[in-house]
Amino acid sequence: MTSPHLLWLLAGVGTILVAASVIGEILRARLSPAGENPVIENLNARINAWWVMVICLALAFIAGKPGVVLLFALCSFAALREFLTLTTHNRADHWSLLACFFLILPLQYWFLATDWYGMYSIFIPVYAFLLLPVTSALRGSTKDFLVRVSETQWALMICVYCASHVPALLYLQIPGFDGRNVILIAYLIFVVQLSDVLQYVWGKLIGRTRVAPNLSPSKTWEGLVGGTLSATAIGTALYWMTPFTPLQAAGMCLLITLMGFLGGLVMSAIKRDRGIKDWGHLIAGHGGFLDRLDSVIFAAPIFFHITRWVWSTT
């Protein structure tokens, strides 16, 4: 599973993180020696959490297909737990919720691990969609029924279905790219997350005009344009490790960074409606799993399907 290209990418990310850690420590020493500046403290917490996330991802890559599938199944579990904590449900939904966590989630990843494309691409939108409301209806509570059922389905689509399209990239068969599919995952995550980071940096440096003041105070046009374009430029420069030509790589990067931005916007709308700032607390500095994964979740199915249609033989 380890290819020289993957090692190059990981080495590059490692270098960026070392540089970020050094800058973070210099900023702390200059501006926040006693931890009094919350922005600097948050920046350093974020960088430290990045180290942990990159190391987990690298270990999963080394462990191969089972490792990557398991890692994303666990991420889905944590994300689903964050999402369903905030949705409307009552006692009558107990078995539906249990089914989400202990039946639908494992089955989706099982279908994926057995490379059953025809099943994992429709399992949640069709089978779970039809069966979950039945489970809730049989318990007889009608209050907010449609709201409860829709929110649960939405949680599954986002946290399980869409997220599972990241490891699904391992199962594409691209001529001349055998054994290197893990690069697609590393590339997708790297470009989308880099875009998030660069949007944050550009936004902090020159951000003035808010894209959607009602949704998020930190998303600005300057950050959006600067972040997506610079991430696209870096992603395009890495075209040689992908199956794409430079022009194709640029198109793909632009698409996934935009999807990532829109994903962040949609998830912000949900958070804003529920009156919370972060989805969870398990990733220090970032919030919850969904706070970190929202952009990748929105980009993954689109990246998967376009790659499959155009480049894959399956």
Partner: protein
């Protein structure tokens, strides 16, 4: 069982229960009105599920957890050998008898004795699980008598949110949802405060941690 084996089994079981609770509810402790410190305290919380004290116990930092004992109902925890092992050996619970006619020991005296041995306590002043629509049931008087007997001990209100949704009464399998435990500012009984006034104040202090949601 040989005591060493028993102690080891209790420790492993405690860790397993705690790990399971973390996996299911990713509990978040919000120390809003007080810092976690190894002082003698009585944590009093709302009671909606049998998992309440496990979660509170899990949410405490390890050094505090070791010296904190839950106060639990003897009639429930001695009703089977497994429960007795978990109640006595794993959680080292102060087992009190809720039935005045049957008991041989005074519950308040038992709790005071545990405090005097240096243990902090976890107490559910509602006295039973709350499955009503009201956020809190009226408090039993034990908290007041405890506060009178040891006035220097911090009484810390702890609101446990969401656990009733993780495991509604009557369900067997818990759903993984995130639970939040909010620790409030400590209370002490005033010298001339009546029982009713103190219990009302304690109840309000706990409810105030519930937040708007």
């Amino acid at each position: 069982m040989i005591p060493v084996v028993k102690a080891f089994a209790a420790r492993v079981t405690g860790m397993a229960i705690s790990t399971f609770a973390r996996f299911m509810t990713a509990p978040r402790a919000v120390w809003q009105g007080i810092e976690p410190a190894p002082r003698l305290r009585v944590y009093f919380a709302n009671h909606s599920s049998n998992g309440d004290f496990v979660l509170l116990w899990t949410a405490l930092p390890t050094p505090l957890r070791r010296q904190t004992r839950p106060v639990a109902a003897l009639d429930y925890w001695l009703s089977s050998p497994l429960r007795a092992f978990i109640g006595r050996e794993v959680f080292n619970a102060v087992l009190i008898d809720r039935r005045p006619e049957a008991r041989t020991e005074d519950p308040v005296a038992q709790m005071v004795a545990a405090l005097d041995q240096g243990s902090s306590l976890i107490l559910f002043p509602e006295g039973q699980r709350n499955s009503s629509d009201a956020p809190l049931l009226p408090f039993k008087s034990g908290l007041y008598h405890l506060a009178k007997a040891r006035p220097s001990v911090d009484l810390v209100p702890v609101w446990i949110a969401n656990l009733n949704r993780v495991m509604p009464k009557g369900e067997v399998i818990p759903v993984p949802l995130i639970c939040t435990l909010t620790f409030g500012a400590p209370l002490h009984v005033e010298p001339d405060e009546t029982k009713e006034a103190f219990l009302a104040r304690a109840s309000e202090a706990l409810l105030a941690l519930k937040g708007p949601a």
